[in-house]
Point group: D2
Chain length 146, copies 4
Amino acid sequence: MACEFKIVRRVEFGDTDMAGIVHHAVFFRYMEAAETAFFRSLGLSIVSRQSQPPVGWPRVHCECDFFAPLQFEDEVEIHLLVARKKSKSLTYAFRLHRVAGSERREVARGRVVVVCVTALGSKMKATKIPKAIADQIQVATARQLA
Amino acid sequence: MACEFKIVRRVEFGDTDMAGIVHHAVFFRYMEAAETAFFRSLGLSIVSRQSQPPVGWPRVHCECDFFAPLQFEDEVEIHLLVARKKSKSLTYAFRLHRVAGSERREVARGRVVVVCVTALGSKMKATKIPKAIADQIQVATARQLA
Amino acid sequence: MACEFKIVRRVEFGDTDMAGIVHHAVFFRYMEAAETAFFRSLGLSIVSRQSQPPVGWPRVHCECDFFAPLQFEDEVEIHLLVARKKSKSLTYAFRLHRVAGSERREVARGRVVVVCVTALGSKMKATKIPKAIADQIQVATARQLA
Amino acid sequence: MACEFKIVRRVEFGDTDMAGIVHHAVFFRYMEAAETAFFRSLGLSIVSRQSQPPVGWPRVHCECDFFAPLQFEDEVEIHLLVARKKSKSLTYAFRLHRVAGSERREVARGRVVVVCVTALGSKMKATKIPKAIADQIQVATARQLA
């Protein structure tokens, strides 16, 4: 049972735009990377090619608040917390910090709602989260989510 | 004075992911394209290289609700509406529809808050929207935003 | 029968990087956009979901020479020419020009080799280009390709 | 003095396209990541914000041969080798392998030529590679490059 996961990654050149900072859409790529790593940490995959039936996790909502810019070669910690777990959906909260030595600066907060579906593509259908997955995921405490 | 703008674009191969649909982060690229086209339609540019001082428009918040997937070669209309105008920030509402002949299907709604800043990069500072820009932008009506 | 196609597109904010110019990898997105538009112009699609068997066109080689940078809001013409047509592959030559009024400046040249395959994904297998497609595509003249 | 560098990274969901494999343009992002990590390993940065004058490294040529597809969550080793060093330019050779336990499969080879310039953006000018950088980089042996 897990309710959170952290990854650290370094801002790449191609993540930046002409403003000299990480493009806002890239923050969702960072959050997705934390989400897929969270699943891997549980021995699972976001893309359950082998499960029967295979399920996928399209987003029905995503959002991000930006507090400070990220720049090339900054190290950023992406902290995923499970904020809500329903029979067919999960809500993740994300906290992004720029980390440099002992300094930590919160740069963004995100929130992403994903739905478990069968048959990705044009004919997606919401489905119950398979027990083998649901059993491993629990909601973070109110304190963690504060 | 303008309060809205529409563009239509076609989903590109590189916009898709292995689920066979447009990757969620790409929706923010679509909204940004409508925003920059809105500025161009007013004879302005998001990147005011020539203005003194130059201003930029980093996002402080962005979000999207997804109702239906977009696929390769779909045509998508991105409708920008100015939802709010403050002295230093603008809020845009976006409505995305898949259009095919006379059929229209709403696929997503977005909301983006941008702040006018000087000196993009690491030392951004919020500033009043220059009058030449502010004078051309007005808030959409409640009916339009409904 | 067609041997060439042209599209014009405008550089988007998200196409740029912190150097203030279009990121080099994005040039391949531009070429791909011309290639998919070329297919559409022939009533075809790069993704032949309906054909039996469906075929795809992964790249086996791509390259680009860069002569001048592209910047945000530049208009760029992407000219595709069919440089070679074999039973299972096509080679495209690309000429990219920045266009501004009557001015034209060549900014890049590309070359892309695609192979016709069945069963995209992990088990791709080269296959003969379906006749319905091959019949519509011809090689450009040496003069055009010069 | 260094002539090569290796990084390993995992294919992300957003790196894939609807064919279920890593989009070809993303391979250039992978090579760039190895190049910037190579510079960091020497105590340098591709973006020499502090050097006088600052220099940048735009590409004048890049190419890639693709031998096998990469899929989501594959681990890929990107091996950079310095193939050529001239007064104002560097040529890198790249070897990309999918690695899974003890298995290694070459999936792509790349070649990238970068030029050292001052004043990135619209007025780039080729310049001699600063001695502090040039002194740390040497060309790989013919055997390494074979």
